[in-house]
C-alpha cells in the first residue's frame, strides 16, 4: 500500500519530464525549420540579384504572351503601403503584364484605388474597359480591385438573382426548374451583380503563407498559385522568375 504512492508520484514525474523533453524537441525542430528558411531566403535573394543584373541567360527574354491576366493577393496589413504596390505595378508594366487584378481580404487596396491610379502613368480601371483580356497587347494597364466581399458574398448575391429570375420565368407557379441552373447561368448572374473580371492565369501571393486568402473561388479553377513572400521583401528578380516559371507550365486540364 505504502509503495503505491511514491510509485505513482515517480511515474507522474517521468511523464512530466517526458512532456518537457518532447516540447523541447518540438521547439528545436521549429528552430531548424526557421534556419532552413533563412538559408532559402538568402539563396533567393542572391538568385534575384543575378536575375535583375541579367547574369542568368534564360530569364533575359521573357515571353509574357501566355500571361493574359495576372492576379496579386496582398496581405491586408501590408496593403497600406501604397508606394510598394505602385512600385510592383510599375515593374509589371515594364515586363509587359498589363492586365492585373489586385486583391486583399479587407478591401484596403480598394480604398487606395485613387492614390494608386494617381501614381501610374496610363492605367484604367476595369469598369472603363470593354474587354479586359484582348488579343493585342494594350498600351495601357487595366486594373481590377477585389476584396473578400467579391467572393462568397457575391456568389450569394448571384444566387438570389438567379432565384428571382427563375421565379419570374416560372410565372410564379410550379417547381423551380432544376435544369435551368448551370455554370454558364451562374457566370451571367455574377456579371450582373458586378463580378466581371476574367479568370487569372497566375496568382502571386504576397504574404506569409501560400494561400489565396478568400480570392473569388469561381475564378481560380486552373490558376497557378505562387508564393512570393512578404510585400516588404518584394524583389524584381523573384517576379521575373515567377513569371518565367509560369510560361514553362503545361496543363492537361484533367485529360
Amino acid at each position: 500500500m505504502d509503495l503505491k504512492y511514491p510509485a505513482r508520484k515517480f511515474s507522474r514525474s517521468l511523464l512530466t519530464m517526458g512532456n518537457v523533453g518532447l516540447q523541447l524537441l518540438w521547439y528545436f525542430l521549429h528552430i531548424l525549420l526557421s534556419i532552413w528558411y533563412s538559408i532559402i531566403s538568402i539563396r533567393c535573394f542572391i538568385e534575384s540579384c543575378f536575375i535583375t543584373c541579367g547574369v542568368l541567360e534564360k530569364y533575359k527574354s521573357l515571353n509574357t504572351g501566355k500571361l493574359r491576366y495576372l492576379a496579386i493577393v496582398i496581405e491586408s496589413e501590408d496593403a497600406h503601403q501604397t508606394s510598394k504596390v505602385v512600385k510592383l505595378l510599375q515593374w509589371l508594366d515594364s515586363i509587359g503584364v498589363k492586365n492585373i487584378c489586385l486583391y486583399d481580404m479587407n478591401g484596403v487596396l480598394k480604398k487606395s484605388k485613387e492614390a494608386i491610379f494617381g501614381k501610374l502613368r496610363n492605367a484604367k480601371p476595369i469598369e472603363e474597359v470593354n474587354e479586359a483580356v484582348t488579343l493585342h497587347v494594350p498600351d495601357h494597364m487595366t486594373l481590377e480591385f477585389v476584396s473578400y466581399a467579391d467572393g462568397k458574398e457575391a456568389m450569394v448575391k448571384a444566387a438570389n438573382f438567379i432565384f428571382v429570375e427563375n421565379l419570374k420565368r416560372q410565372n410564379f407557379g410550379g417547381e423551380i426548374d432544376g435544369q435551368v441552373m448551370s455554370e454558364s447561368l451562374l457566370n451571367e448572374a455574377l456579371k450582373v451583380v458586378g463580378c466581371k473580371g476574367p479568370e487569372p492565369d497566375l496568382l502571386l501571393v504576397y504574404g506569409p503563407v501560400r494561400s489565396h486568402l478568400g480570392f473569388p473561388a469561381w475564378r481560380i479553377r486552373y490558376t497557378e498559385i505562387v508564393h512570393m513572400g512578404s510585400l516588404n521583401f518584394m524583389r524584381y528578380g523573384s517576379l521575373i522568375k515567377a513569371i518565367y516559371n509560369f510560361t514553362k507550365v503545361h496543363q492537361n486540364y484533367g485529360t
Binding site: L22, W26, G151, E153, V156, Y222, Q251
Partner: protein
Amino acid sequence: MHKDTGGITSNLLGGLCSCLRRCIFGILSMGPVPNHIAFIMDGNRRFAKKRNLAEGVGHKAGFSSLMSILRYCYELGVKYVTVYAFSIDNFKRKPKEVQSLMELMREKIEELLQDESIINEYGVKLHFIGNLQLLAEPVRISMEKAMKVTAHNKQRVMLVCVAYSSSDEIVHAIKESCKEMWNEVQNSKGATVSNGTIGQLDRSLKRNGIQVNAQDSCKDCTGQDSNGSTDRSGEAETSSCCGMVEIAEEGKHGQGKLPAIKLTDVEKNMYMSVAPDPDILIRTSGEARLSNFLLWQTSTCPLYSPAALWPEIGLRHLIWAVLNFQRHHFYLEKKKKQF
C-alpha cells in the same frame, strides 16, 4: 532458414520504423495538429511512364501510397482526410482509361470493406463526395454500400472526391438553396407568390446592385475595425450582408415575409459540408494549381506542392507539411476570425 531470417529482419525493421514514426508524431503533437488534410493525388500516370510500367500499375501504386498516407494521418491524430480521386474533367480521358479507373475504384472499395482493412482498424466513416449520378451504376452502388456500412463509425472520416469539381459543387449548392427557398416561400405564403412581392424583391435586388460598391467599402471598413473579435458564425451572418439584410428587412415590412438566400444556406448545401474546411492542402508532382478542387473551402488553407509524384509520397512530406502548418497556425487562425 534464410527466408525466415529475412522475414524476421523485415518485421524488426518494420517495427523499428513504426516506433520511430510514433516518436516523431509524439514530438509533432506538442504543437497544433491539423484536423483535416486534403490531398490531390497527382502523378500516377507520370510515375508509370517514368518506370516504363503499364498505366494501370501507376494507379495501383497510387492506391498503396494512399493507404500509407491515410495510416500516417490517422496515427498523427488527423480526423478528416479528403482525397481528390476523380475529377469531372477526367471524364474527358480515353474511355478505356476511365473504365479501368472506375473498375479499380470499385475493386478497392470492396477491399476496404474487408475486416482487416484500415477502415475498421481506425473506425473510419467513408463519404463519397461529388456528382455521383455521373458514375456508372456498379461503381455508384458500391460507393453507396460503403457509405452505408461505415455510417456508424465516428472516430475518423475519409472523404473521397469522385466526379467532383468545385464549380459543379457551387452550382449544385446554389440550385439546392434556390429549391429550399422556393419551398420556404410556398410554405410561408400558403399560396402562390404574388406579383407584388416578386416586384418588391426585384426592386430591392436592383437597388442593392447599384449600391454594391458603396456597401462593400462600408463593410470592408467594418471588417477592418472589428479587430476580428466576433466569432466566425457571427461574422458570416452580419457580413452576408449589406444586401441580404436589406432584402429581408424589405420583405418584413412589405406584402409578406420574403426571405433571401444567405451564405449559410449555400454552405450548408455544399457536398463538403460534412467536414470542416481543410487545414492543409497537399498536391503532389509539384503543380501549383487547385484544378477545381475545394476552391470554396481553402480560403485560409496553406497549399503545399512537393515535387514528388503521388506514388512517391512519403512520411517526410507529411511531416514537412505539418511543420509548416504549425509555423503559420497562429496567423491563419487570425485570418479565419476576420472572415
